[in-house]
């Protein structure tokens, strides 16, 4: 009685939110309704005693896939009026897919009615005396291990494909090489000298450190000029030292 009540509550919300996914105008609302639909499907799994599937549905679909959906839908600036413009053009394909799905659904429901042999499989989703986690693990990793591995390989190929399609080696971007930073020692970059008053770096014969590879900061030179002492060369080297030591 209570189970039936909850089943109908969750099933009703599931159907309503599934309808709202395709009918709502705002795509972000669509994704949020999709998430609600996932939730209710998970609740139905729980009622059916498939707690492992319910949790995996939440973790995989709601916790990861739908987050990325939402992420993309929110971030992309898609012109939906333009997308709707193609409605009539894509109607035949869409209608074909829809009809095929409808027929398949009818076949599944018909099988319920007309194939009593399948009854024994259907009404015992959970084997007695074992958790459905263990039962599923046993099934997937022993009986169907090759199919499982093949599915994983297909996903791997898809992932590599996506990376290959989108990876550009951008020469202009600056990368941080953490190994290089860690390998750097003070002795490589710092020289401690005691400079007498009024004497520039040229006089104490310290070679200026190698210039950093990319840019030279303009304001560092200006800063050194502000402190210019009578020796021009000293001022210039002082600027160079300031630049190198700033790292």
């Amino acid at each position: 009685m209570i189970v039936a009540f909850f089943f109908y509550v969750f099933a009703a919300i599931l159907l309503v939110s599934a309808a709202a996914v395709v009918s709502s105008r705002n795509p972000v609302h669509s994704v949020l309704f999709l998430i609600l639909a996932f939730f209710n499907a998970a609740a139905l799994f729980l009622i059916a005693g498939a707690e492992f599937l319910a949790m995996i549905l939440l973790i995989v679909y709601v916790g990861a896939v739908a987050v990325l959906f939402l992420f993309v839908v929110m971030m992309l600036d898609v012109n939906f009026a333009e997308l709707r413009g193609g409605f009539q053009r894509y109607l035949p394909i869409g209608a074909t897919v829809g009809v095929v799905l409808l027929v398949e659904l009818a076949l599944v429901l018909g099988g319920w009615k007309f194939a009593p042999d399948a009854m024994s499989l259907r009404f015992a989703p959970v084997p007695e005396a074992t958790h459905n986690t263990a039962a599923l693990g046993d099934l997937i990793y022993t009986q169907y291990v090759f199919l499982f591995q093949a599915a994983g390989l297909v996903l791997l190929v898809a992932m590599i494909g996506a990376i290959v399609l989108t990876l550009r080696d951008r020469q202009t971007s600056r990368h941080q090489s953490i190994e290089r930073q860690h390998a750097r020692r003070p002795a490589d970059t710092l020289a401690m000298v005691s400079v007498p008053l009024g004497v520039g770096m040229a006089e104490v014969s310290v070679p200026p450190p190698p210039a950093p590879p990319a840019r030279r900061l303009a304001h560092a030179d200006g800063h050194a000029d502000g402190h210019a002492d009578p020796h021009d060369a000293g001022a210039a080297h002082g600027g160079g030292h300031h630049d190198g030591g700033g790292h």
Partner: protein
């Protein structure tokens, strides 16, 4: 009495009482967590921290709550009202419902379900929705940037958290949280799985958006990130959710790695203090959260992603394979 509790009305009353018995202590702990954080940070920065309201400033959390309650709730003009208020409620609600499966002592869980670990993982991975929805519904660019950062961050770190959990489950052979704790009677998992313990703790910091991974708030760049448009109780709910999530992640770490309620001193008077040991372990972990916050500067976003995908993911994957190999090689598999 037990006859009354078996009736439907009695069952409902019992369930509500059980829920209150865990939610009220958690909320109280959360209130004093804010106080503890301020005191710990103050001590580490040679300040005094809150010391005005009540003795030692002990009433500060309630003064803060009262202040939040009496403030005006401001709704941005372009905001989606329904989602704007759904987000904080979602954050707080998810942080609280996860406690239904946490066992604080043997048999002291409201719901001792078969898939407790998965339930916790699912709930903690849903926490990101509160943040994304808040960022989007606020109709503000800072809030939106914070939400996007948070979404990418939480999805990245969930991957390594998942592998760490699988590693622990390999050693336990069950998804039940009580079984996870009881499997640690001989040795806590933080000893054989020490690298995974560290990975889990750091990923927990990232999962709760705590320093040094608090890029979703990043007050120096995007003011307060997803919370920028929130005020009064809506803001307070985010705040409550964040701290409750911290306690939750600490409780998860305690259960998975620190032996839950098991006593480190294995004889009589100490072994009866299960819940106290549990709270003590959680508190030590929470102190580490504050300690990290006081010590480390915020990560840059590319560093965050590098740590998640290039360091933790391979590390946890390799350790998973090693653990499975060792269990198989030495015949330590739980149900072999």
């Amino acid at each position: 009495m037990s006859g009354f509790l078996a009736t439907p009305v009695g069952t409902v009353i019992l369930t509500v009482a059980e829920a209150l018995a865990i939610v009220v202590p958690v909320l109280l702990m959360m209130a004093y967590l804010t106080y503890a954080e301020r005191k710990v940070l103050a001590a580490m920065q040679l300040r005094r921290g809150p010391n005005v309201v009540g003795p030692f400033g002990l009433w500060q959390p309630f003064a803060d709550a009262l202040k939040m309650l009496t403030k005006e709730t401001v709704i941005p003009s372009g905001a989606n009202r329904f989602l704007f208020f759904l987000a904080p409620m979602l954050t707080f609600g998810l942080a609280v419902i996860a406690w239904a499966v946490i066992p604080v002592n043997e048999g002291w869980a409201i719901a001792n379900i078969n898939v407790g670990v998965l339930y916790l993982f699912a709930i903690s991975s849903l926490g990101v929705y509160g943040i994304i929805i808040a960022g989007w519904a606020s109709n503000s660019k800072y809030a939106f940037l914070g939400a996007l950062r948070s979404a990418a961050q939480m999805v990245s770190y969930e991957v390594s958290i998942g592998f760490v959990i699988v590693t622990v489950l390999l050693c336990v052979g069950s998804l039940n949280l009580t079984d996870v704790v009881l499997a640690q009677r001989h040795v806590w998992f933080c000893i054989p799985l020490f690298p995974m313990f560290i990975v889990f703790f750091i990923s927990g910091l990232a999962e709760t958006n705590r320093a040094p991974f608090d890029l979703a708030e990043g007050e120096s760049e995007i003011v307060a990130g997803f919370m920028v448009e929130y005020s009064a109780m809506a803001f307070a709910l985010f705040f409550l959710g964040e701290y409750t999530n911290m306690i939750l992640i600490s409780a998860m770490t305690t259960i998975l790695f620190l032996g839950g309620w098991l006593s480190p001193i294995p004889f009589a008077p100490f072994t009866h203090l299960g819940p106290l040991w549990f709270i003590l372990k959680v508190s030590v972990l929470l102190f580490c959260f504050f300690w990290v916050r006081a010590t480390f500067p915020r990560y840059r976003y590319d560093q965050l992603m590098r740590l998640g995908w290039k360091v933790f993911l391979p590390l946890s994957l390799i350790w998973l394979v090693l653990t499975a190999g060792a269990l198989e090689l030495f015949g330590w598999l739980p149900h072999a």
